[in-house]
């Protein structure tokens, strides 16, 4: 096995500790970017319509929990795709991708596929999932909808374990749940609440009327809850099927 999402691949020089390491942008590069930006339309990027702040846990080790920032793009009423970052400022690192589907779509997935997905009902009704700087009242209808969805979240950069660059294969992430093993550490929540001047407790109370159908609560998602198993991703070397020499 070449590498696993569970094991840090190896040591890197500590450098100045910056994540990622690297020289500041040169003036020349900034000018190049400005020139390009003036003519490019960047359409798919402009479709991102929501910023969500929530929490996720590593499927391979649920004691490792992170605050996440999702930039969400809705493709249709049943499907959303998210670029996930570790913060919401301009230096935020792209740490993965999450896909979100409605219950209707989730039910069409094969059981083996469903095991890779997590439910959103708890993290929304618990107030953990929120939209920074957007009034809760506006969000309510969307939250009712999203509380019945499922997500599939791959993390490609394990910043929380100190990786200064994205190392190893992607890791599968799970959502917070209201049972042992799925609870978010209070300190993480407190830190988030302080930064955005919100109260997760208050959000939870205001969402008491967000209900979730039984079918959603009894799904094959959140595999760890029934099986006490998570997933790691390994990468193995193999023969490449090829049509020409490589490299």
């Amino acid at each position: 096995m070449l590498s696993s999402s569970e094991e840090k691949p190896g040591q890197m020089p500590p450098g100045d500790g910056s994540i990622p390491p690297g020289k500041p942008m040169s003036f020349g590069q900034k000018m190049i970017d400005k020139g390009a930006q003036m003519v490019e339309s960047l359409k798919p990027i402009k479709q991102m319509s929501q910023h969500v702040c929530t929490f996720a846990l590593y499927s391979q080790d649920m004691s490792r929990q992170i605050e996440t920032h999702h930039h969400v793009n809705r493709l249709n009423q049943d499907f959303l795709q998210c670029a996930v970052y570790d913060s919401d400022d301009s230096t935020a690192r792209l740490i993965g991708v999450e896909y979100i589907v409605s219950d209707k779509i989730f039910q069409t997935l094969p059981p083996e596929e469903q095991k890779l997905w997590h439910s959103h009902a708890y993290e929304i009704t618990a107030g953990l999932w929120m939209n920074p700087r957007a009034p809760e009242a506006i969000q309510k209808p969307e939250l009712r909808d999203l509380a019945q969805t499922y997500g599939k979240f791959w993390c490609t950069w394990q910043v929380d374990r100190g990786d200064r660059l994205p190392l190893g294969p992607p890791a599968l992430m799970m959502s917070p749940q209201g049972v042992n093993g799925g609870m978010v550490m209070p300190e993480l929540v407190r830190k988030r609440d302080e930064k955005y001047k919100v109260s997760t407790d208050n959000l939870r109370m205001s969402r008491a009327d967000v209900t979730v159908p039984e079918t959603v609560l009894l799904s094959n998602a959140d595999y760890w809850m029934q099986s006490e198993k998570g997933f790691a991703v390994d990468v193995e070397e193999t023969d490449m099927k090829r049509i020409a020499p490589f490299p």
Partner: protein
């Protein structure tokens, strides 16, 4: 065997977005900041194939932002349109950063020299001289690409596990029909680009022997692990 044309891909299942949902999301968008997304300033089009299977090739539209001079992070879509599917991501690093990677990490990363000099990696709609200024830097970089959505096998949803991807490293790898399709849709000629880029040079230390998986295939595998025993974590709520 021909490559699949991306325009024949199946639609994502689901109802059209309701007006009320769209309005709500527009309202939200005007109130929120989009920090890291606002830093995305560049669109690059290139080709990837699966790290275990060169016969499966896809057109990849990268939307990139710089973290610093040595590091870019890119979102990858199947097409540069409003309804583009987010199929993967790529990190692009300078040779200097690549050399600091542990040896069992280096194989994940592919070189860009051939696809830049070959003309296959380009910035749609951007005038040649501006492209060149940036591409001559990209020419020396390494990239790590992961795809989550295997649209080339007809998946209308992102099924399965992530796939490590590789990039073109020599003539004869890219399906001619894929190349011609991109050339005609974006109004460019790879042959012409190749001429324009003849002056560019790759990494100062040459292509690292561990890069491009040292010529091996890479395959991701899912493995079940036991959940570690957890003491009861104090709940936030009483």
């Amino acid at each position: 065997m021909e490559g699949e044309n991306v325009s024949t891909q199946p639609e994502v299942p689901g109802e059209p977005t309701q007006t009320s949902t769209a309005l709500l999301e527009t309202a939200t968008a005007t109130l929120q900041g989009f920090g890291p997304v606002n830093k995305i300033h560049q669109h690059l089009c290139a080709f990837h194939f699966y790290a275990h299977d060169m016969t499966r090739q896809v057109e990849a539209h990268h939307f990139c932002g710089h973290q610093n001079e040595d590091f870019r992070q890119c979102l990858i879509y199947d097409k540069p349109d409003d309804d583009g599917k987010l199929i993967g991501l790529e990190y692009i690093i300078s040779e200097e950063l690549f050399l600091t990677l542990p040896d069992n990490e280096k194989p994940f990363w592919h070189t860009h020299e051939f696809e830049v000099k070959g003309g296959y990696l380009f910035m749609p709609g951007v005038p040649g001289p501006i492209q060149s200024q940036d591409l001559e830097k990209v020419c020396k970089t390494y990239g790590k690409t992961i795809h989550f959505w295997q649209i080339d096998r007809g998946d209308s949803l992102p099924l399965g596990i992530p796939q490590v991807m590789m990039a073109l490293t020599r003539d004869g790898q890219l399906y001619p029909n894929l190349a011609q399709d991109v050339e005609s849709r974006f109004g460019i000629s790879f042959a012409k680009e190749r001429e324009n880029r003849a002056y560019m040079t790759g990494p100062a230390h040459g292509l690292h022997p561990l890069g491009n998986a040292a010529g091996r295939g890479l395959q991701t595998v899912l493995r079940e692990v036991d959940c570690k025993p957890v003491e009861s974590v104090p709940s936030v709520f009483v």
